[in-house]
Point group: C2
Chain length 277, copies 2
């Protein structure tokens, strides 16, 4: 792996460039982004040069698509006409089924979907850091399990481990269901809670630190969430349905007694979640 | 106000003692708690001496009940036989209707319910601090509005302002409805979410910082929540019902389109919540 092209040099793309260099990658890193972003990314040292997709893609051993889901979906079909035979294309999008479907259409390049479970509240290459992936799960969703055995894929996963990521392999379907529960459902609850309290006179003055925690996700940008909701709609609907049932059950418990067992299970999960980190 | 008795010298009670002294209170502060807690509170300087309720109450100008709701409800009926005529009794419990009902039964003392909207993740007098109440709302729920015009009540509210609290007056009913929405509903959602994800294989590895935020309240102790759920059951049930309807509506929006408007309203409330702080 000599030449890496990062398309979308934001928080994730920029961090990937910094992480590769920090882990000893000696090849060349090309960035595809707006001129302003390229300038910032060059200054941060996240990339070695900026280029258009048309100029960069033919030189790439690895193309790392780190833009919004919508941009990833637009870029993939263009790549077959640009890339070298045998190049590896991967992405860092938050949903996987639609993106991996698009990746399956590539003939000359191998596509392996990816999703680093890493992030920060603020976005942009200014926030990028070489250690962003360290100790964090990094999902890979190959079209077929044997795709990960190719030389290009083995080299890529080797670099992922070197930048500190914990590589996990699952199907796009398994991924989209898992993130619907662990990421998209919490977002919907935070947004719904904040929206519900917006109309309540007394709720704001009575707010404590707990409500601040519970409404932090509600600050997330709509641009990102529009793409996620559109590409994982069925799983999110299913997660909301299932959670609605849980909430009804908890309310019924409270009407006739106390939901002590639910509190016990919730506290246990919350503790285990923190132990893992 | 010469002598203050703090019954339950934990985080809130201990902080009230420290705050009074920090604001220049020159009288005596008696603590009623377990021997171990009294020792720690004396070492922190939150109280001047420890005493039993029977010994302390007859000396008090102000009795500040800062134990669990259950302890407050048990203590109030005992006070009529102990206190000086005209003493003021107040509390720091998280729900107000049941406590204020009990307070109305006092004949010799005046009862004004209270609820400081201040706290910390960790409890105990070790965590107490003089500045805990500064800039935070402090609710007062008098049985009748004119109760706040009595000399004892005016002196107490003067001290609340001196320790930096923002005093707000509402009825116990208004209070319990407001905290059902701003505090108890978020707790139930965090607990229900954490409990729901406990059974999901993939959810824990796919967890990001958002899920950590959303499950922090699920770590709260059951002992505190048992009291809150028992004394505010109807309002919490109502809040859960209403939120369940909001969630259904959001799901329906997602099934046929996108809940952009809900995201906008949620982000707006979350932003306003942070501006106030």
């Amino acid at each position: 792996m000599e030449t890496v092209v990062i398309a979308g040099v934001g928080l994730i793309g920029g961090s990937f460039g910094l992480a590769l260099k920090g882990a000893g990658f000696g090849g060349r890193i090309l960035g595809v982004s707006s001129p302003q972003t390229i300038e910032k990314a060059l200054r941060r040292g996240a990339i070695d040069e900026g280029a258009s997709l048309e100029d960069a893609a033919p030189r790439a051993d690895l193309i790392y698509l780190a833009g919004p889901i919508r941009a990833i979906l637009e870029t993939i079909p263009k790549l077959d006409g640009l890339v070298r035979e045998g190049a590896l294309v991967t992405d860092a999008g938050s949903t996987k089924r639609r993106i991996c479907d698009a990746g399956r259409g590539l003939r000359r390049a191998l596509f392996v979907g990816g999703h680093p479970m890493a992030g920060k509240e603020r976005r942009g290459v200014e926030e990028a850091e070489a250690e962003l992936f360290r100790g964090r799960p990094y999902l890979l969703a190959p079209a077929r399990p044997e795709d990960l055995e190719s030389g290009a894929a083995l080299e890529f996963t080797g670099w992922l481990r070197r930048i500190g990521a914990e590589v996990r392999v699952m199907t796009p379907e398994e991924h989209d269901r898992a993130v619907a529960l662990s990421s998209h459902l919490p977002q919907m609850l935070s947004t719904a809670l904040a929206a519900a309290l917006g109309g309540e006179e007394g709720a704001r003055w009575a707010a404590g630190p707990g409500l601040v925690d519970m409404t932090r996700l509600a600050l997330s940008g709509w641009d990102i969430w529009q793409d996620i909701l559109e590409t994982n709609r069925d799983e999110i609907v299913r997660a909301l349905e299932s959670f609605g049932g849980d909430l009804d059950a908890m309310r019924a418990q409270l009407e006739r007694g106390l939901p002590e067992e639910t509190f016990r299970r919730g506290a246990e999960f919350a503790r285990r979640l923190r132990e893992r980190r």
